[in-house]
Amino acid sequence: MSGRIFITGIGITSAIGMDVASSLDSLIKMRHGMTLPTFLPTRHADFHVGEVKASNNELCTILEMKKNFPVSRTTLLGCVAGAEAIAMSGIKPETIRNELHFINGTSVSAMDISEKAFQKMIGGESVDYQRWFSRHDCGKTTDFISEYLGFKNLTTTISTACSSGANSIMQAGRNIKHGIYDLALAGGTDALSLFTLNGFNSLKILDKDWCKPFDIDRKGLNLGEGAAYLLLESEKSILKTGSKPLAELAGFGNANDAYHQTASSPEGIGATLAMQKAFETSAIKPGSIDYINAHGTGTENNDHSESIAIRNVFGDKTPAYSSTKAYTGHTLAAAGALEAVISVLAIRENLVFPNLNLDTPIDIIGAPVLKLENKAVNTVLSNSFGFGGNCTSLIFRTV
């Protein structure tokens, strides 16, 4: 068998849509999902965020879920997107429940619940710890989603901040490539929380207004929330399940910037290495890339550093590129997974999605794509960079 990794299902929920169809429609119509907060109970009501347009109760209804304890929004979003990916493949879940490996990336996990309990405690109320904290951790979020989706096999949980979702996909890819297992659901989920909104605000890297990735006047990022998963299969698995590949995971690379805890090196060292490693694992050359879905958060630091890294790798031949974070916001652990799904859609639809809200580009690698472009998209490079210098690049290819 070839060690090739096929994508046979995708699922996504974010500020631009509850599922793949509505998300694609938003991407095509250049309809972003950034608004002032409606569900997040924050004092910072003037900060633009990318909320999924459904309350927790509405999500529970969609999932037909009744629980007598508070369920984390991170978990709910994960269940929605995970279910869609499985459904899209056409595979009956009960036929793969013992074979499928579920690999989930999350950084918030159930902090949206824990912080509510903490507020009660600070206010002097007594709190039922079992009810509020026993599902706090990342592993429990993964277990919960896995159980909801009916899986019985091993799970894996990766928590590397903003590259978690991409790292989960990479991890699944590596294991399938080397025949460790044949079938995985991989991606990530994170809900908005006061913890992360206030945390990023304390770093002064949020833009209150709608973010402007790769713009010379960018002021920072907007946070978002969401979940996305890819169903990945080996060639051997596809022969059994009969599912139809949508695209292929052709390459992946992870490297560490080792420069600063949160900031990226001005020379884009980690990002450059991650992209180079992705090319090495894929036998694809930079010249074959039709579209880069950049990390492009809209912070002064990332967009500069990433531009330098792209120039390091592509020289003066930068392919069409854009950040889609002005559509969805920065969804932290889900970002790499959301953007993996967007990359697959770019390939399926032969579309390059635009970089919204840009007036004047940074003068390093030329302007990103500003309007929806119809062109042959056979290979896509997707970048995700997280705190702790964690840099991951994924390469997708048409089948």
Partner: protein, 332 residues
């Protein structure tokens, strides 16, 4: 391809020891300034300090400046800073907040700080999946070796804070208390390993690592029996079993596990030293390596039947609430 543990180190502040002549596998009292310069040390909470120290000692013992990859497992992440930022945020009602606790609170700060200090641009990842956090990192290390890398630094750490003590006590008191006895206590610690596919002077072979999801006792026995025979080892060739249990809990999984072996098999309970934390199984592995190297078992963890013969094969078993089962087989 074989997997070897070239070196290992543990920092275990919570260690409980009994007996004056303990052959300590771990460090409980560390002068962190020896390992970390002040301008970096000042921001580091317990879990990060312990991990940097343990990582540096493991690398030093392996004779390495830099690993090719850094993999970390942590069940609950950087709790001190998480609690600090939460407290600050709630007290200030989302007002002006200090960023340091926030940036130190993300789970991959441990791996990130080690990478930063070592100036290591290699692969860097963090797993956080309860009692499988360390094991997932260890599996990834093996995958790296399979891909042709060498000298992988892999480890795990967890710290405890007051809130966790309160939560766990509360959960145990409401009856969800399998595995809890009067000996039970919450611990914290960090263990790091350098793994390689090349055998060196003091290497211990990681012969087998098997993870299982939720299962039942008879299925556990079937998988265990298969696991041993797949490594051509009979139950009576296991010289010591190291369990993530406390003595006499009545836990049916540990009971089922032990049934596969002779009644008189030497048994050790590592949590008597480390206490319970999600990644304490990393300490169990380090302890197992230490026991094989020194051929002696610390009094404080030995449960039954101290061995008379040479110790060659050790099997470690741990689970968490009937889920996250792991078998780890090591040999000299």
């Amino acid at each position: 391809m074989k997997t070897y543990i070239t070196s290992s180190a543990t920092v275990l502040p919570s260690a409980k020891t009994v007996g004056a002549n303990e052959n300590s596998a771990y460090l409980s009292d560390v002068n962190y300034a020896e390992y970390i310069e002040p301008k970096l040390l000042r921001r580091m909470s317990k879990v990060i300090r312990m991990s940097v120290a343990a990582a540096k000692i493991a690398l030093r013992e392996a004779g390495l400046e830099n690993p090719e990859a850094i993999l970390v497992g942590t069940g609950l992440g950087c709790l001190t800073d998480t609690q600090r930022f939460l407290t600050d945020m709630c007290s200030a009602e989302e007002g002006v907040l200090s960023p340091t606790a926030f940036i130190q609170s993300t789970h991959n700060t441990i791996a990130g700080q080690i990478g930063l200090l070592l100036e290591c641009n290699g692969y860097n990842s963090t797993y956080s999946d309860r009692a499988h956090s360390f094991e997932q990192a260890l599996l990834d290390a093996q995958l790296h070796l399979l891909e042709g890398s060498d000298n992988i630094l892999v480890g795990a750490a967890d710290e405890t804070v007051d809130l966790v003590e309160n939560v766990v006590r509360s959960i145990n008191e409401t009856g969800n208390s399998s595995g809890v006895t009067k000996d039970y206590f919450l611990g914290e610690g960090s263990s790091f390993f350098v793994v390689s596919d090349k055998k060196k002077l003091n290497s211990i072979e990681l012969k087998g690592l098997k993870l299982m999801p939720r299962t039942n006792p008879s299925e556990l026995q079937a998988v265990l029996t298969d696991f041993l025979s797949s490594h051509s080892i009979a139950p009576n060739e296991i010289d010591l079993i190291i369990l993530g249990d406390w003595p006499n809990t009545g836990d049916k999984y540990y009971a089922a596990f032990r049934e596969v072996f002779n009644n008189s098999i030497p048994t050790a309970f590592y949590k008597k030293q480390s206490g319970h934390y999600f990644t304490s199984s990393a300490y169990a592995l380090h302890l197992g390596c230490h026991i094989l190297r020194t051929q002696s078992i610390p009094e404080s963890i030995s449960g039954t039947h101290p061995p008379e013969q040479i110790l060659q094969n050790i099997l470690i078993y741990n689970h968490y609430k009937a889920n996250k089962h792991s078998f780890c087989l090591i040999s000299k």
